[in-house]
Symmetry: C2
Subunit: 251 residues, 2 copies
């Protein structure tokens, strides 16, 4: 049987370019060339190509394959064992790489959550400022200048112990919120407990709690992606769920 490039290519599942390339580098020469300059391959070439494909599929490079098949005293198993060594080395390198990538990921994630926290500390300040801007006048009218100023000073003047308490409260809020979400009901007991925890948490920052301010804050949480990003860490949609719970809570 005689084959042209395309026929042989189809037989072996490779492109004609590949066959021409193999001819070019002397890896697989056609049996002969016909009067029109076409490459003609025979049975022996089919066999040789099978061999080539075999080694190629094992990831051996063409130069090595050529050496293997050209050398008269060719030790197939030795070549394969050498090749195997190379592969094992490659895998070891890959493993090391993966390890490093893993390390980097967890490291940057730690950094991320650190900076997330820092950012949120900033957000809390915004929260206080916001409250001051929106309700400051009203509160000042109600309670007088001094008490309000004292309130704003509260955050900055918190002791470490107090700060730890707030953090604990926040952790509790997160745990409670997650459990509440599993029930799926923002009017349920767990969700209402979460809203209460949020109120308590808020009272560390605001001296004068009001339902309107709480509701306004809840809306702001859901609208500002800096807040949603922080609360949605609990579970996607947690911010909105908390808002709903709070709105029910204040009624």
């Amino acid at each position: 049987m005689e084959y042209t490039v395309q026929k042989l290519g189809q037989l072996a599942g490779i492109s004609t370019r590949t066959l021409r390339y193999y001819d070019e580098i002397g890896l697989l020469k056609p049996a002969h060339i016909n009067s029109s300059g076409y490459r003609i391959y025979g049975a022996a070439e089919v066999d040789r190509l099978q061999q080539i494909m075999f080694y190629r599929e094992l990831g051996v490079n063409l130069d090595s394959i050529k050496d293997m098949m050209t050398s008269p005293t060719f030790d197939g198993t030795k070549a394969l064992r050498d090749h195997r060594e190379k592969l094992l080395e490659k895998r070891a390198q890959l493993d090391a790489l993966i390890n490093n990538v893993d390390k980097s990921i967890s490291q940057t994630e730690r950094k991320m959550s650190m900076s997330d926290k820092e950012k949120f500390e900033g957000f809390k300040q915004i929260l206080v400022d916001n409250n001051e801007q929106k309700y400051g006048k009203e509160i000042r009218q109600k309670y007088g200048e001094d008490t309000v100023n004292a309130s704003n000073a509260k955050v900055k003047g918190m002791t470490e112990e107090q700060y730890a308490d707030v953090q604990k409260l926040e952790d509790q809020l997160f745990i409670n919120l997650k459990a509440a979400m599993e029930t799926g009901d923002p009017a349920g007991e767990l969700a209402q407990q979460a809203a209460d925890l949020h109120k308590q948490w808020l009272c560390f920052y605001w001296d004068h709690y009001s339902k309107e301010a709480h509701a306004g804050l809840a809306e702001m949480y859901a609208a500002d992606e800096r807040f949603t990003a922080y609360y949605d860490k609990v579970q996607p949609g947690a911010t909105e769920f908390l808002r709903d719970a709070i709105i029910i809570y204040i009624k």
Copy 2:
């Protein structure tokens, strides 16, 4: 601090060519170029290069690194996680390759030892023929035609059981020979036992044992690479060692 290509290269442990290449592809442009056309890098470029090296060491390609560092909304951990996926895929492919190579090795080894055996079966025939050619006349004179013919017929007429016995004897010979080689002394007891085993083995093929024929055969073993290849499987140099032992043995 300002750096030329070489200074920066030394600082980062990379070649000047690499820095020029990074400039060329727009990955790391120098801070400015001085009046003589020299590339001058500053502190910001050092930082950027550190970043580049970091990702490069994790095996990320330069194009991706460029994208990562150019994009304003770049999620480092997501990129790393994507990269990790790619690495895991690569490793899976490598594992599959190694598996296939392993399979091929053991397969070809089985084939090899099979064909080795077949070849040796052929060699044994040569052995008999050789004996016939060299000593045939002499033996025929001594013992008459019929006995010699019977001898040559022996090999072909061997029962399976007998054949298994010969194989066992050969295995024993190999084991013994290996042990003998560890002593290093072809005149020692183990080596002489090996020579005796070889005589017994030989007597399965030859009806009429003679010291001269045994010695001649030993020499032939060492000279013919088809035999050395077979016996040297025990250990390199085993054929010569056996020859030496036999020559001492027949004295």
